[in-house]
Amino acid sequence: MMNDELQEGSAALKRPLWSKIREQLAPGIMLLPFMLNQYVLFVITAVIVILISFTSMDSALQWNFNGLDNFKRALIDPAIGLIIWNTVLFVCVTMFIKVVWGLTIALSTTYYIRSQRVGRLFRMIWLLPRVSPGVVEALLWIWIFSSGSNGILNLIMHALYGWEPVNWLDRYPLMINIALSGIMGSSMSMIIFSSAIQSIEKSYFYVAKVDGASEWVILRKLMLPFLKWPLTFLLVWQGLSMFTSYESILLLTDGGPMNRSETWALYAFHTAFSTLNFGYGSAISLFILPVVVLAMFISYRVFGFKKMMKSAQSSPQDTERKG
């Protein structure tokens, strides 16, 4: 049996190149746009950004190389301290909301609500922000927190407590941005947690019930251990994307007032495209790179991401052989 397989393998190796290409043509064509993006466009863009970061390029778009000036400048920029703090808060608190809120919805709609139909309906409602454009979400939130007397929150606070209009976005800019990103972004974690919970073998729950386990014990000892990998994936995947995302902040408060909701990626964008300082903006954006690499290293080693990737790569045959 083993010899036959080896012979088939060596025969495949001896086949002409054209035959091999023809065999892989259909998947190759399908993958081509993505490969073009990942291995050509992305690489070209990255190289250009790196090169620009060593120039004083401004509105004139001229390549005047200035060595490490932009990187040195970032270290003495008085705005940087606040921006680092904002970024850490934004990423950590938003991730916390996304995970806790997503898990809560997933548990409620897949386990505690027994009717699958009702659970699906609730999940669909929570998915709506995913299919609505970010601009619409931001507009709705601006309306809610509008500083005028017609802002929804101001209307409510006036009706309940007689409050004068409050400029919420001016007073709590970062907190409101975190709430928007956290609550609206929790639908992704909800989907992942829901599917993970649904894939847990039902018999485990029956056995736990027969053994007299309480709902709390089932959650803590049965379900949460099964959610370890999805949680790791979410923390790494969404955590990294949070470092580089700024669209919702741009739409809601534009980083203001006084940089109080400015995050690192948004500062890079503003520096490049508002003050037209493309060289310095590119340098700022490159500072994210070591943070991302460090985060990936930690997740790979500390959170056991390596193990998860290995198990995902193993084929059923491998598992069978090991068994």
Binding site: D58, S59, A60, L61, Q62, R73, I76, D77, P78, A79, R120, M124, L128, V131, S132, P133, V135, V136, S147, G148, N167, D170, G256, P257, M258, N259, F273, S274, T275, L276, N277
Partner: protein, 486 residues
Amino acid sequence: MKKQTMLMVMMALTIVLSGCAKTESTNTPASQVSKTENPNSAADMDKGGVKKNVVDTSGNGNIETINIKVMTPDVSAPARANNFIEAANSLNEKLEKENSKQRVQVEAIVKSVKDDEFKQQFIFASKSDNANDIYATGYSNIGWMANGDYLLPLTGIEKEPVFQNQMPGYWDAVSWNKQVWGVIQDTEARPIFFNKNVLKKLGWTDQQIADLPKKSENGEFTLADMTDLAKKAVDSKVVNSGLMLTAGGKDLPVIFFNHGTEVYDASQGKYVLDKSHLKTTFEYLNNAVSQGMLSKGFVSESKDDMLKTLINDEGLFLQAGVWDEAKWRTRGMHKVTGNVTSEYVMNNIGAMVMPVANKDQKPVTVSNPWVYVVSKDTKYPDLVKRLLVEVSAPKLQAEHGLQSSHIPFTKEGQQYETVKKDPWLNYVSYLTQYSKFMPNDPNEPKFEKIMKDATQNVVSGSMTTDEAVDWMGKQMKIDLGEVIEK
């Protein structure tokens, strides 16, 4: 079946919600405007659109139609682009008399674009050879546009007869590096508006109210007097807002200039860190906020909300632009009547130069004249220059001025019959004699941001006045390079 229904519902929702994000088409079809139609109808205010003049080539098959694109990013003053329709007709008549085989067809594009976005679009369009031929923009963009080699120098155009009686000093606004890079399109000033009804509630007589602009101009009514009066109005609960200052890039500097702050040394081409005057200004603003006359968040508050507050008798003083009168006429800001007439504005709102901080000082305002600049990639520089001359005709200056409450920039424009008859423009045009300009240095947008951020830090309590001055110094050195410290 259930799955199919769910899928259908999801798809329908996706389509409906995606429709909410419909973006403005960049390829708006142009509407043709015949010679008998008015290219500047009042209904154009605050709306985008593209218009073209009709070129009559009947009877002469050899005529070459030259297409020239003009763009303004300001929909509140559409005549900045639409005036080119009439200018093109006028130029075509001259070309016909000269037996020229060329006729000009202008595509006048009025499109609402924010300042940052406009800069990006301008740069990328220029670099990809897709720039429009002519742009209307604020004069202070000339520095970086010329520095970036995006513009056609227009030196020599100042000799054209139409510009001979231009307001003094205005060629400086379009000059950079010893060249002229644009022509002035209009001018304006940033006065202090006051609500006459509120003053009456505070016991002022009609005569006292009528005399206020003159007293402010000659220094009898000072900044301290205005601040005290604003405090009195708030304390006596006549209004919620005593004093409203706007914080746009050219608005905020007025209060700094008023305290004697120097921002730029034109002879050396460097920005100035005028520590003592900056500190005095910050202290004034901080006191005004702490005493409740000025809102803590004034730097980020909406100007339209402030205009609504004033026209509805809920505020006393507001620093705004003379052109904002047009917004009361067109944007439905009055709670009862919506739009108001110019007569209503004149009866209820007054305007004066910002009262001086020190009695022996000359009043000051800031003007931000709009200008026309020409892309260096235009294929028809001579025709474009001739169009600029045509569009600067007193009649067209007057049409733009009346529509959007801006002031014509030549003597002939200011003395044009319709302008002279307009009560508002007559009332405020004297203010331009006190105009100062922010520098048109390539770094001007960065400096404006630094000044705004520092002010916001002070009034919000994040920094003391000394800390704000130090912070400005550090940021200026980082963003602007070498600065002169005083």
